[in-house]
């Protein structure tokens, strides 16, 4: 190189050579500033959605009477409904709350976190190919994802330690509010002038980890479709009826270790939403297509059937992700125990819900 430079100098072409060298060197310097990403590093990168965490959150709404200082009553009313005999139905939510653990059925509210910074509630557009919905971008609203049982917390126990279960949300401890809220609602259902029905529902230390709502578009029906999964677990779910002032209550129905896994719609049978020509709302889960004639052998075995078709139906009928389950550890009314209850493996094969106008 030096010899060539010397030759250039002799030939009085130094300025041009110098320029060429600078131009050649400059990109080299720039490249040195940027670092290459390995395949492994690249695979870690994913499209970012929005993570949402509520910190020290308390929510409380509603009481139908003015407070002790005579301030205006809080009202949260759901109306416009009619009973089958044509009377107006009005639901007055007397109290709706989200609070930290130990709220004593909403009496003493304390802060709670919802979602974890390392596993938050997410709003995201996800690649459908990764979740079994081919070639679709899917809008997903998701609660904290379930984690490996070696890292997670038992979903029921309010004293769970790490490594005991699949829930990411942690129960409250003496020095941390935790991510499992007490939620509850007290409501008065008035049918016409009859305001006697006063119902309270309370869930302690509730967890909805692994729940999600996915929405996307269906090409064939040109319609919005969805998939909804609710995992709701609580060590105690109670229902009771009280007098309207809430002072005297009837027997409390208590369900301990309550776990509901509800799957409405799946990749093969999504939920369709629509409004019909008369302005009524329609929710539909279409039945799965029957196999083509002859695709499944007369004896129903894989050997005598079209294997691809047989495997499809085998997966549909055995996949636990498509099924809903309900577990109740113990069901009791006041001091009477009725033991545990389990309803397992419910599969929605066809569902068609239509609202109906009862107005004359």
């Amino acid at each position: 190189m030096f010899s060539s430079l010397k030759r250039h100098c002799v030939a009085d072409r130094l300025p041009r050579a110098f320029l060429v060298m600078v131009v050649l060197l400059a990109p080299g310097l720039t490249t040195a500033e940027l670092q290459g990403l390995s395949e492994h590093e690249l695979s870690e990168i994913d499209g970012a959605g929005i993570g949402v965490v509520l910190e020290n959150f308390v929510f409380s709404h509603g009481t139908d009477t003015p407070d002790a200082d005579g301030n205006q009553a809080r009202i949260f009313k759901i109306g416009g409904l009619k009973s089958t005999d044509g009377r107006d139905v009005e639901i007055v939510v007397n109290h709706l709350y989200i609070s930290g653990a130990g709220s004593n059925y909403g009496q003493s509210l304390s802060p709670v976190n919802l979602g974890r910074l390392v596993n938050p509630y997410r709003i995201d557009v996800v690649d459908g190919n990764e979740i079994g919905i081919s070639d679709r971008a899917v809008l997903e609203f998701a609660a904290p994802a379930l984690v490996d049982a070696t890292q997670g917390f038992d979903c029921m126990s309010s004293g769970a330690q790490a490594g005991t279960g699949t829930c990411a949300s942690r129960p409250a401890t003496s020095d941390f509010v935790g991510e499992r809220p007490d939620i509850g609602m007290q409501m008065n259902v008035a049918v016409g002038d009859d305001r006697s029905a006063n119902i309270s529902i309370h869930a302690k230390s509730a967890v909805i980890d692994g729940s999600f709502l996915r929405l996307w578009g269906d090409d064939d029906r040109r319609q919005m479709v969805g998939q909804f999964k609710l995992n709701f677990q609580t060590p105690e779910l109670s229902i009771n009826a009280c007098s309207q002032d809430g002072l005297s209550c009837g027997s409390r129905i208590t369900m301990t270790n309550f776990a509901l896994e509800l799957a409405i719609g799946n990749q093969l049978q999504p939920v369709f939403f629509d409004v019909d020509g008369t302005g009524n709302f329609v929710v539909e889960v279409a039945a799965i297509e029957p196999p083509a004639p002859g695709a499944i052998g007369a004896d129903g075995l894989r050997g005598s059937s079209d294997t691809e078709t047989w495997d499809f139906y085998e997966d549909y009928y055995t996949n636990p992700d498509y099924r809903s389950n309900l577990h109740i550890g113990n069901f009791s009314v006041a001091d009477r125990d009725f033991g545990s209850a389990r309803v397992e493996g419910m599969l929605i094969q066809h569902l068609d819900i239509r609202t109906k106008d009862l107005a004359p």
Binding site: G49, V52, V53, N56, F57, I75, K77, L117, V275
Partner: protein, 182 residues
């Protein structure tokens, strides 16, 4: 002659002044700069009304709220299926007010039961206002066959109506940040 001297002195002074000012400014190196973060924030108090008296449109369907024959709330219709009916949020009206909604960027590197240390990033923090006052907030959820209530052949079925009044306790912080797919 005297005037020209004065001008020369003034010019020198101005130049010296500038030189002194430059001497007062210190360069920040990359390391010092990296320690500086925005400390700004926003504090909001608000009183928001939607169609409290009635919207701007007055026709055969919409009108003032004191006219019992007219609808006075805002209307939002959306369709879920091509050639299908419309989901409607109708008669949206009322007033809500809050004091002390805060907005800032916050670095979290501790707390949250040990998650803060693992997280160690910036989030957008929306400080909830503790109390939100609702004054006669109402809306209806309905389904209709056509988007515009003034169109011929319009049919609508109200499914339910919601009414809210009074103070709602809403404490805490809403933290928003980018999150990848886990």
């Amino acid at each position: 002659m005297k005037g020209r001297h004065c001008r020369a002195v003034l010019t020198t002074l101005v130049m010296c002044g500038a030189a002194q000012a430059t001497a007062e400014l210190d360069r920040l190196n990359d390391r010092d700069l990296s320690d500086i973060s925005g400390q700004g924030g926003i504090y909001l108090s608000g009183d928001i009304s939607i169609n409290e008296m009635g919207g701007p449109i007055e026709n055969s369907y919409f009108g003032r709220c004191d006219d019992p024959d007219k609808k006075c709330g805002a209307r939002l219709a959306y369709r879920l299926k091509e050639d299908g009916g419309w989901m409607v949020l109708d008669e949206i009206r009322g007033n809500f007010s809050f004091e002390g909604l805060t907005l800032r960027v916050r670095t979290i590197d501790s707390g949250f039961g040990g998650d803060g240390e693992l997280f160690s990033r910036d989030v957008m923090e929306i400080g909830l206002p503790n109390v939100v006052r609702y004054n006669d907030v109402r809306f209806k959820i309905a389904g209709s066959n056509l988007p515009r209530p003034t169109a011929p052949g319009f049919r609508q079925t109200d499914i339910l109506a919601v009414e809210m009044q009074g103070e709602v306790i809403m404490e805490g912080n809403l933290l928003v940040f980018p999150a990848g797919n886990p």
